[in-house]
């Protein structure tokens, strides 16, 4: 098992080293085969690990001591249990498909850049595996930073474009803000418990040792970390900008895997979160607000990738809602189904962009249905899945979260339903504008329209099948299923929160959400199959179109004051105070030297005079005591 787990994680690292070091030597074919092959190898190893866990239960493998001092010991351990083995499958499985897709999508790049791309992608998979496999928060944090780095590198992959570099920096900096919270939570744990291993921290006895203030503090800080990585309010604005990266990167990192790291982390620490009512409420409120905010923005966007990006933010909000209401397995379920259908949608969008020669504006598309048949069908399946139409996967996972929300607080459920309606609306707006109606691009583009090669359509087909059938892992009891996933996670999630609603209530809830989604879907279809959105004229439309002016708000409220403060430090503190002190002392010495040196005039008489004056002064200082005073007194007496 030790070797098997090492294999899972070392294959991508080998791919990174191979492609990274040999980028100037290997041919593109070799690079593509190696990069994809390593991830597929890792996937196969993951399947074995998964099967092993199914038979034998969770295992912890120890490699070496990472940090070993008197007061703290941090072993380099990996934990393979139901949760991490599921994530392993998703990461390496979706990862292999996206690698395969990338081999064709990135074909235009020259060999060194092609190798650079795959090196980053492999390094990302490595970091992500480190994140989910680690048996303590420190290793998770190492992976956490690693994925952040790869995200930065891949967003800024086309580094000759300045805007892309800004987007990369924005992503990195926003992630850093979250990382700080995560790091502080780790320090807090070390200070209170002296350990960060899951097996020691996440037990009922350990939790009992912590005061409720500690638990709330730690969980809130962990959630700040999750906010940054999983793009929640207020740290979500980096994710839409991250679409500057190549489309498969958006699919892998910014939809399927990295952004779900926050959900993984919270699910992992669920025992802590369950003990803090405050944090749970905050998580749920932030989650549902993010879901609604991002959905409203997505309705008005015209860039195909931006719509999907906001949709991702919105779906992540649903997952956090699930976490907040205690439906941990529901959240993980949604992570998995979302990984399938959102990766599918992004890859489909990539296929469209590829066919349209890097055109991303959906107003210039339309009527692609007949030109890109496979992309069309798979994209449609993705849209149906995300909209929550049964029996596609998104329906089951979203419904589980909504049912749990209903049980906890009806308001969450109502808002969630509104969000679900908006999801169906913007997804079908996107679908209809892109694939239905007449082609609105240039003639030249129309002439070049083509279906993508097999390397791109194959992942689409596989993901479409998974999106359609992925719900099977969590069919609820009332439909005759036994919810395999909840059973899987029962050892990880302290109190498996299956909705305990009456059967009839549950059916009604499902029916309602499906009906609302279907209505929204049909409205979008009928409205956008013929026409596109003009520039929004109403105030609220403009508000959504400009993304709630949140970027502008951050610009005004945070960046500009910071810049002003920095300018003040530079112009005043640095130049006047610090430089003033340094230059001033120099000037003082020069000035006094210029004055004092005039005393040395070469006249012996002056020297003697100064000597006498000096001696008199010394006498006065040294003998300024009662002796000399008395002596002078006696002299004057006589």
């Amino acid at each position: 098992m030790k070797i098997l787990v090492a294999f899972i994680i070392l294959w991508p690292l080998a791919g990174f080293l191979f492609n990274g070091l040999g980028r100037n030597y290997w041919s593109k074919k070799l690079i593509a085969y190696k990069a994809t092959g390593y991830i597929v190898a890792s996937f196969i190893a993951s399947i074995f690990a998964f099967l092993y866990v199914q038979d034998n239960g969770a295992v912890t493998v120890h490699y070496f001591d990472f940090i070993h001092t008197d007061s703290i010991k941090i072993p380099f351990d990996f934990k393979v249990d139901a949760l991490s083995s599921l994530f392993l499958l998703v990461i390496t499985g979706v990862g292999s498909l996206i690698h395969l897709y990338s081999t064709a999508y990135m074909q235009e790049e020259s060999a060194p850049h092609y190798a650079r791309y795959f090196a980053y992608l492999n390094l990302f998979i490595f970091s992500m595996l480190l994140l989910v496999l680690g048996d303590n928060y420190i290793i998770m944090f190492m992976g956490w930073e690693g994925v952040g780095l790869c995200s930065y590198l891949l967003i800024g992959y086309w580094f000759s474009n300045g805007n892309y570099n800004y987007a990369a920096k924005k992503a990195f900096i926003m992630n850093r803000i979250g990382d700080l919270g995560f790091l502080l939570a780790i320090f807090w744990l070390i200070a209170k418990l002296g350990t960060v291993s899951y097996s020691e921290v996440l037990t009922a006895e350990t939790v009992a040792k912590l005061s409720s203030a500690d638990i709330t503090g730690i969980t809130l800080l962990l959630f700040v970390g999750a906010m940054g990585k999983s793009a929640q309010i207020p740290l979500f604005t980096w994710l839409p900008d991250a679409m500057a990266g190549p489309t498969p990167v958006s699919a892998l990192i910014h939809a399927a895997t990295m952004v779900t790291a926050g959900i993984y982390m919270i699910t992992r620490s669920n025992i802590l979160f369950t003990h803090s009512e405050i944090t749970q409420n905050i998580v749920a409120i932030i989650g549902i607000s993010t879901a609604l905010l991002a959905a409203t923005i997505a309705i008005k966007q015209n860039d195909i990738k931006k719509v999907l990006a906001y949709s991702t933010v919105s779906q992540l909000g649903y997952m956090f809602l699930g976490l907040g209401v205690g439906a941990y397995s529901g959240a993980v379920f949604h992570v998995i189904t979302h990984a399938f259908f959102k990766a599918l949608l992004f890859l489909g969008a990539g296929s469209v962009i590829h066919a349209m020669h890097h055109e991303q504006d959906i107003r210039k598309m339309g009527g692609l249905k007949s030109k890109l048949p496979i992309t069309h069908i798979t994209f449609l399946i993705g849209c149906i899945a995300i909209s929550g139409v049964p029996p596609f996967s998104g329906f089951f996972s979203k419904d589980e979260i909504l049912a749990a929300a209903f049980e906890k607080n009806k308001i969450y459920w109502v808002l969630g339903l509104v969000g679900a309606a908006m999801t169906a609306f913007y997804m079908f707006r996107l679908y209809a504008t892109t694939f239905l109606g007449k082609f609105r691009g240039s003639n030249e583009q129309e002439a070049h329209l083509h279906e993508s090669p097999l390397a791109m359509t194959l992942p689409l087909i596989v993901l479409a099948i998974l999106s359609a059938l992925g719900g099977a892992i969590g069919i609820p009891h009332i439909m005759g299923g036994h919810h395999w996933l909840t059973g899987q996670l029962s050892t990880i999630v302290s109190t498996p929160q299956v909705a305990h609603l009456a059967v009839s209530t549950e059916w009604i809830l499902m029916g309602l959400s499906v009906a609302i989604a279907a209505i929204a879907l049909l409205i979008a279809l009928s409205r956008y199959s013929k026409q596109t959105d003009e520039e929004p004229s109403s105030a609220i439309g403009k508000f959504f179109y400009h993304k709630w002016y949140i970027d502008e708000l951050y610009q005004k409220a945070i960046i500009e004051p910071l810049n002003k403060f920095a300018l003040f430090l530079k112009e005043f503190i640095e130049k006047k105070v610090i430089d003033g002190a340094v230059n001033g002392s120099g000037k003082l010495v020069q000035f006094s030297a210029r004055k004092v040196r005039l005393i040395q005039n070469g006249q012996a008489g002056y020297y003697i005079l100064f000597m006498v004056v000096g001696i008199i002064i010394l006498f006065l200082i040294w003998f300024n005591d009662i002796t000399i005073l008395r002596f002078i007194h006696t002299l004057t007496q006589k």
Binding site: G602, Q603, A604, G605, I608, V612, T634, L635, K638
Partner: protein
Amino acid sequence: MPIEYYIFLCLMLFSIGVIGVLTRRNAIIVFMCIELMLNAVNLLLVAFSKMNYGAAKLISATTTAGIDAQIFVFFIMVVAAAEVSIGLAIIVMMYRNTHSIDINFLNRLKN
């Protein structure tokens, strides 16, 4: 005679010497003023040694306290005489070179 008289005399002699050195430009007068200071100190030494002897004699009739200072004064006078000869020789050489004994001409070593 009380010791204060000696001290007062010496102080005046020394002050006259200092002021002379500071104010006069004639090298010979400056030189004489230096001698004046030297002798003021010498006189003070003699006076203190006499006082010391007087005080010790009240205790023991055969004391030799203060004798060493009296001898030491002679040494100082000898050394002063040697110093005077060198000083005068410098002044003579200076007069030969500059036809002046104004000490302000001595600043030629400047620059």
